[in-house]
């Protein structure tokens, strides 16, 4: 933009006075061309559909976060409780073994052995219930899997529209870089990429090569 144009834009009154019908006509033409180009690219309807779906995608993602969070907590709680039961059985086993070694007759006669047997039976029943709870907690996978598929479809539509728009709008030398840009977070598919590591071994190798 030339200096005199910049100065005109800085003063709205002057700009209005200076604006000729040709300028408005030119602006209208550019807007029309942009509109037509977007329609020809098929960007506008898809972009609108995708944008309309965003609130729905947000609620679906919240649903996934809630379901997976609840499942993780349920599993961890059950594991904690099962581990406590397991530790109690291990401790009681050591105690009863020592009692049997010390005086087998007394251990049986006092009922210690039978008490231990019934304690173990009760504890294993409780552990079995915890294991069942852990198994049932995995139901989130089926539910969230379906939701994920819908959100992925929406995201793909949005990405497709935005990439087309970006490639169209970007300078030629930048356009090729557009599709290579990455989002932060887990690398879902590291195959064929040289900028990421695929496993812990590659992390260790990289750090070792740098002397760390």
């Amino acid at each position: 933009m030339k200096m005199e144009n910049t100065a005109v834009l800085a003063n709205p009154a002057q700009a209005q006075a200076a604006a000729s019908p040709e300028v408005f006509q030119q602006l209208g033409l550019i807007t029309r061309q942009l509109h037509d180009t977007l329609h020809q690219l098929g960007v506008m309807p898809k972009l609108q559909n995708a944008a309309n779906g965003l609130p729905d995608a947000r609620s679906r993602l919240n649903y996934i976060a809630e379901k997976t969070g609840a499942a993780a907590n349920k599993v961890l709680n059950s594991v904690d409780q099962a581990k406590n039961e397991h530790n109690a059985i291990a401790s009681e086993t050591r105690r009863i073994a020592a009692a049997i070694v010390a005086d087998p007759v007394k251990a049986v006669a006092t009922g210690s052995v039978m008490n231990f047997v019934s304690d173990v039976e009760a504890a294993t029943a409780r552990i079995d219930k915890h294991l069942t709870d852990i198994m049932m907690a995995q139901d989130f996978h089926d539910l969230t899997g379906q939701v994920v598929a819908k959100v992925v479809s929406l995201a793909a539509d949005l990405e497709d529209s935005l990439v087309k728009l970006l490639v169209q709008a970007a300078p030629p030398e930048q356009a090729q870089k557009v599709e290579a840009s990455l989002l932060a977070g887990p690398v879902v598919n590291p195959e064929g990429r040289t900028d990421v590591v695929a496993n812990q071994g590659e992390v260790d190798d990289l750090l070792a090569s740098l002397g760390f």
């Binding site: 907590n73 887990p186 812990q200 992390v203 750090l207």
Partner: protein, 131 residues
């Protein structure tokens, strides 16, 4: 040799991951651990409580893992504390940056108990050798 009384600070914005790391540390014999949900909370805890080891995520709100690492290394009273990064970030530039910024180790998620054990022991051995 690892000291079971060592105090760990686990920093991650996901409570599930904090719980998993805490559980694994417990299985490795380290029962003394506290948790923080981001770098700001972690730094507050570090300034008020003595910790021997920090296990930190990278992607967190408010203050991310790199910023926390920089803050720890910039504070004279904290810079001796080893920081193990445990993160889903698998980009080489992040790994190199963490090492250059003073991280004691780097683990990519998902990880195993054996990996955590190996890294913690390696870091503690290195510290013992330089002490």
């Amino acid at each position: 040799m690892s000291n079971p009384d060592m105090k760990f600070l686990i920093v991650d914005d996901f409570s599930t991951m904090r719980r998993i790391v805490r559980g694994l540390l417990k299985e490795l014999g380290y029962n003394n651990a506290e948790e923080a949900e981001d770098g700001v909370a972690a730094l507050n805890l570090l300034k008020n409580t003595k910790f021997d080891f920090v296990v930190s995520d990278i992607n967190m709100p408010n203050m991310n893992g790199f910023e926390l690492l920089a803050a720890i290394k910039a504070e004279a009273s904290l810079k001796h504390i080893p920081v193990l990064m445990v993160t889903a970030e698998a980009r080489k530039e992040d790994i190199v940056r963490a090492a250059q910024d003073g991280a004691a180790g780097y683990i990519v998620k998902p990880f195993t108990k054996a990996t955590l054990e190996e890294k913690v022991q390696k870091i503690m051995q290195k510290l013992a050798a330089t002490a």
